[in-house]
């Protein structure tokens, strides 16, 4: 049950105690709005005014505003209540704008968890705020999860039972990790254990490390490049299979890498590197992604794209794995591709197109004798054709 409802239960208890009396006043009040009405109105309004003030003092601004509206429902001419409501509304607007602003800045820095929290707190103040809502829905990814290293004998249901107290939540772990239908868990591999809204982590070590502290890093203190253990994390020694994820963007990029979505991985890690240029872990992920991308492009015969990826990779680390061999291979295949394309055009008597292809070949490999010879021959033919046309 929500906090608001709980608060209302307390209010209702008060109302119940007053019930008998209110019944009597209500009976004498059928002429509400008439001269006698003020006597019934005022204590009623006073009670809500009191509540509004108490809520405002407790920084529960939205509910305080509602109480002021209730006061004004009962006594519409209460100028002081109107003033109080207007002032409170302005205060809420300012706070909401500020939080959305902070959320956007956090997004720009790539700190998803903080952005999410800022937008959520804005909505808690103004639950109809479309800017905060849209930002939360479209620009913010929920990426909070733990990682778990599989041990011999583990099953998804057992892990789900440990984390969520609910075996059937194994499906969420299954989906999050994009596992095959009947997965065999290999000891040593890692699984992501996501937070499930509405389902508290039950495993003692799995509790979210001090959410408020972890979610809102002090804005003026830059986060260390190598993430320190989250404050409040209480993993007892000897039980080290649970580690809280370090940086959501980094995690997101790794996740993309795991599903071979290299484009997404590169886009995400670039955002991460803007905030932490030169971060070693970040660069490792980027290199892996570029390498994977180049390979898959090579397989898909997208040679120029592959060469591009490999060139970027070479700038980061020229001797990365077999990247220089791959680059050579991509070049050779691309040359072949253009060369045979030229031959195809030539056969179709598209001489100009054929020449263009072979010129590309020469650009990449100036010593390509066949291309040179073919160009000469095609140009000769073209000239002959043109002369015949003139006649």
């Amino acid at each position: 049950m929500s906090g608001a409802a709980r608060g209302w239960l307390a209010a209702a208890a008060l109302a119940l105690a007053l019930g008998g009396c209110a019944g009597m006043t209500a009976k004498s009040d059928p002429a509400a709005g008439g001269p006698g009405a003020a006597t019934a109105r005022d204590p009623l309004a006073a009670r809500h005014r009191q509540q509004a003030e108490a809520l405002e003092a407790d920084a529960q601004l939205r509910r305080a505003a509602e109480e002021w509206k209730i006061v004004l429902t009962i006594t519409p001419d209460d100028a002081k209540a109107r003033q109080a409501l207007d002032a409170l509304r302005a205060k809420i607007d300012r706070a909401v704008t500020e939080r959305i602003d902070e959320g956007r800045k956090a997004l720009a820095r790539g700190v998803q968890v903080e952005a999410r929290r800022k937008f959520l707190t804005a909505l808690a103040l103004d639950p109809g705020n479309r800017a905060a809502f849209d930002a939360l829905q479209n620009d913010t990814r929920e990426v909070e999860f733990m990682t778990y290293t599989v041990r011999a004998g583990d099953t998804l249901t057992a892990i789900a039972q440990r984390y969520y107290g609910d075996r059937s939540r194994s499906e969420v772990i299954w989906e999050t990790n994009q596992l095959p239908p009947n997965p065999k868990l290999t000891p040593g591999t890692t699984l992501k254990i996501p937070e499930i809204p509405g389902v508290p982590f039950v495993h003692p070590e799995a509790r979210r490390p001090a959410p408020v502290v972890a979610a809102v890093p002090t804005p003026d203190v830059p986060r260390p490049a190598t993430p320190a253990p989250a404050p409040g994390a209480t993993a007892p020694a000897g039980k080290e299979e649970f580690t809280s994820e370090v940086n959501p963007l980094l995690a997101e990029a790794r996740e993309a890498l795991d599903r071979n979505d290299y484009g997404d991985a590169i886009g995400t890690i670039d955002k991460f590197l803007v905030g932490k240029p030169g971060d070693r872990e970040g660069l490792t992920v980027k290199k892996q992604a570029l390498y994977g991308q180049a390979k898959s492009q090579l397989d898909a015969k997208q040679y120029s794209e592959s060469i591009q990826s490999l060139t970027v990779l070479a700038r980061l680390q020229p001797d990365y794995e077999d990247s220089s061999a791959l680059l050579k291979q991509a070049r050779v295949r691309m040359i072949e591709q253009h060369y045979t394309q030229g031959v195809r055009f030539y056969r179709e008597e598209k001489l100009k197109e054929a020449i263009a292809e072979w010129r590309l070949v020469l650009e990449m490999d100036p010593g390509h004798a066949n291309a040179r010879r073919n160009i000469d021959q095609a140009e000769k033919l073209l000239r002959g054709l043109e002369q015949r046309m003139k006649k």
């Binding site: 906090g3 007053l18 519409p76 707190t121």
Partner: protein
Amino acid sequence: MTTRAWVLAGAALLLGACASTAPTPEPTATPSSARPGPRPAAYQSQDFVVTFAQPGDTPETLAERYLGGADKAWMIEDYTGLRAFSPGQEVVIPRGPWNPAGVTPGGYQIVPILTYHNLAEQAKGRLVLAAASFREQMRYLKTNGYRVVSLADFVEFTRLNRQLPQRAVVLTFDDGYHAFKDFAYPVLKELGFTATLFIYTDWVGAGRGALSWNDLRELSAAGFDIQAHTKTHADLRRATGETEAQYARRMQAELEQPQELFNRNLGHRSQILAYPYGRWEEGLLPKVKEYGYIAAFSVRRQGNASFVRPLTGHRSQIYSEMTLDDFVRNLNVFQEENLR
């Protein structure tokens, strides 16, 4: 002014103390419902109605009186946190949505969307639920104050256009089994629950176990919502080795052909999709959108906040081996989080 108010508030409290020692008023003593009399006193503004419960008043009667329909009773229950009132008790009634996103300083609302498949007298395998279990589960929802809302209303919730009851739950039935008509429909009708059927069009009319287009038209007329579950119930993710062109053709068949059949047989297109096996991937979403779906659902076992991405909604499958406790674990409607 303020001083006077405080004095009056004090007086009210004293009176309250008085009243608690006085004998409780008998309902028959003031049969206000019997005599025509004046309308009960109420203060009204554009935001709220502040009134006093009459003997016999319930959230339903008050909603009928002030909100234009008993179906709005949830607004009174959710706002006051009460489901019953004593005569004379003050009741504050919001006249419109006060929290469309369902976000409060203590956390946020999540909406469980339950997924059923086939039903039979006896359970058979995971996905054929015993009719008696289904009845038990639906009764549980009713007696525990859950409000079954339509999937369309939920989709509006994800667009910030509609506040939902705090205990809102959505019911969905996948594939289009004829057993829905035999076992689910009577229970839902009795309890006044609505539901969405996700049908894959190759299955429609395919033998005795399947609903026909005629059945679906009938159910649609009876207030049930029919939506698409693709053409063949194949995994919509791009297969390895599948070229861009092949994939595009396959998605056209899976996503557009149901639309044509919906149009022809039900007179409308489908706006909501259930992913077969719950499987989706990022690259699929633009295609889903392209063919006119505004929301789509996996079977990831978790509830949905208002701000969930509408094309990646979650549903929780209910299996035949689940106990009532297991079932209840899928009904969380609130995520606590300090958002102050």
